[in-house]
Subunit: 417 residues, 2 copies
């Protein structure tokens, strides 16, 4: 069968399953998630054997150590998958929630009901645990899903897919509600992102290259972010202790995450704080790249290029700029930021209020580390990704981000005059 | 200047204005709307003269009567524009509303703040009053807007644009917050829909051809609906009086609107009701096109083709189908509907509940006329359009539909462990 026909069949089954999933009640969805967990536990040996096969193939193909690390399943990662399923089962069901139901002068009652999106396509790279996380979020949010994992994790994903199918069947849900593609042909991705008639949204998870390619070519909406160029701004009135603790955490807690601070802005009246921070960041091995005014205060700083203000370093490198105050900080952020997450450190009420209102990013923080921008930390329970788009979901995307709303109207034979 | 450069300049000014509009407080936005109303009243003679020029040009070009009717401004339409401005000024400001602000175990407070989308591009056809409605909604929702009206309304739109600019200036808001394009070059539309860097969303208002062309070519999100193929389903337990009143209203209140019912589904146990309705619809001059079972009951009915189930007639024509009951009704709707608006007429609690949950359209109604699907009727105060997409805005789109949300996090020097 050629890839177009294969994807057409997958798509039709997913669309059909989405109508069934729309009607499944909360208890049945939770039973399915726990049945999948039980299947994982029962088939643990087979999953690990499949993963070893992928690892061996990966070594044969001389994949990088970083890629092999992401690919490998161990006991800790396996337990995380099982716990993830339990956690998502324990979350409130977003589907069917009705808000703002109110009477109108005509006599009708109007409100909004939360409903699934339909079919969610997920395209990801080497980590096989994404297969479970993504499938679990889609099941709980009443969506059907089509999963396309990386070719290097092919056998791991097929072994995990068997657990998903068995778990769904066990509780009487359609086993086509989650379909893991059985092909590594790259043109399957082109098909997946081109058919609004059977895919309602695509979630690409992976490097910038993957996401950019998908965004540029997709004919269906994409939940995504390209960069996490996050900023922390130390305001005139920042508390010294808070400024140092938050900045160090925002930059050094983890270097490779999208919510790590990449540029530090400091009000020019707080050069004292910059000097102290530069020393502590230096002790942690962070390379500073500063504007001229910063370098006049900290001579060891390298000069920052225009490019550094745009950069997501994902490394122990921090761009540093002295700014005249709040206005320049906001303007710098709204010019250079990727719209992910920004924080102000301040004791000034009006500055905090203005920063929250005027910074145009998906998360905006006061006196807190940018590292908090995360679905778990926000209480979403789980996260399918982070969106920097303003449409629909924005910021960490959990169960609710996989849903839409429809309007409901209740009348009593009411007609329009 | 070529069109690319012209649109680049327009776009840059709009983006710049959007940052200013984001910060404007409610009172200033309301003052601007009322200043525009005052300008309209002051410049009424000039606006009517410009409109007469468009009408003369239209007659010279032999535009259809329907088009000339939409183009013409009269006292009633002029007063509607003025009242629309007052009404939007009186609505609550959606911007800055914070919801779901709650503490997390880490100590941070997390919530969502409603924010403008940025720059809204609006592409519409002959009706000059859209210029005011759309601009007013964008001003109130804190967005900058670029308006591209039909070439046949060019002089009317320029005269109205002068009022918008004067009104914005009068209260100290940037006069680039609303830009009415000063070109009728069609390639300006191609530019408008291709630059995510200066347009955040496009709202096309007009016929299916316009909307389809824009949706297929846009590189920015589009708030739209293509068809309004709405259904009314008369359930087994429908109350006779309600069923007749609602069905007649849904079909005959106005024939040319997108929320008019185009297909009537009747449970086969209620042939009695179909016979009565067929007579009353016939008296109103509505042509019925039925399935075989319907035609066995009402011999005057023409046969329905497969195409009729898909059709938005926008005319006194109604497709009619007898169905076995709720399940077949829902399946028919989810197969043939354009996802706009559907209604069930029933006295059965469980059927009402299932219809609301399982029908996958942007508005779903119980015992009410599909004609209620409208921003004013839903209490949105005003409407920029109706969206059948599941992403972001769905159904009638008012002020809130022109906004997004960002997450806000409040800490006290809180760092992530």
């Amino acid at each position: 069968m050629n890839i177009q026909n294969y994807m057409q069949q997958i798509g039709n089954k997913a669309r059909e399953a989405s109508f069934a999933m729309m009607r499944v009640d909360t208890a049945a969805k939770n039973r399915a998630l726990l049945a999948v967990r039980d299947q994982l536990i029962q088939q643990k040996a087979a999953i690990f054997a499949a993963n070893q096969q992928d690892m061996q193939n990966g070594r044969d193909k001389q994949l990088s150590e970083a890629l092999l690390d992401r690919l490998e399943l161990n006991d800790s990662r396996f337990n995380d998958m099982c716990e993830g399923l339990e956690q998502i089962a324990s979350l409130a069901d977003p589907i069917g929630v009705i808000t703002d139901l109110a009477y109108r002068p005509s006599g009708i009652q109007v409100g909004k009901m939360r409903v699934p999106l339909g079919v969610v396509g997920i395209i990801y790279e080497s980590r096989p645990n994404v297969t479970i996380d993504a499938a679990a979020l889609c099941i709980k949010s009443g969506n059907a899903t089509i999963l396309r994992g990386g070719s290097e994790a092919f056998f791991s994903n097929q072994a995990i897919a068997a657990c998903l199918i068995a778990g769904l069947r066990e509780v009487g849900l359609p086993d086509t509600a989650v379909q893991v593609l059985e092909t590594t042909d790259r043109s399957a991705v082109d098909e997946l992102i081109s058919h609004p008639e059977f895919v309602d949204v695509i979630v690409p998870r992976g490097g910038r290259g993957l996401i950019e390619r998908i965004s540029n070519n997709a004919r269906v909406p994409v939940i995504k972010h390209l960069d996490g160029n996050c900023h922390t701004y130390i305001d005139d009135t920042a508390d010294e202790q808070k400024a140092i603790a938050v900045t160090l955490n925002a930059k050094t807690h983890r270097y490779g995450t999208c919510n790590t601070t990449e540029t530090l802005l400091v009000a020019k009246s707080r050069g004292d704080l910059l000097v102290k921070l530069a020393q502590q960041l230096g002790e942690k091995g962070v390379e500073l790249r500063g504007c001229d005014a910063s370098r006049a205060l900290v001579s060891s700083m390298k000069p920052a290029s225009e490019n550094d203000w745009h950069e997501e370093f994902l490394a122990p490198i921090l761009a540093v700029k002295l700014v005249s105050g709040l206005d320049e900080a906001i303007r710098h952020i709204n010019t250079y930021s990727s719209g992910h997450t920004e924080a102000i450190i301040t004791e000034n009420y009006t500055h905090a209020r203005r920063f929250l209102a005027e910074v145009d990013s998906s998360s905006v923080m006061v006196n807190a580390s940018t590292r908090f921008a995360d679905g778990f930390e926000y209480g979403l329970g789980a996260e399918i990704g982070i969106s920097t788009d303003k449409f629909h979901a924005r910021g960490p995307v959990g169960l609710e981000g996989l849903t839409s709303q429809k309007w409901i109207v209740l009348g009593d034979g009411t007609i329009r005059q």
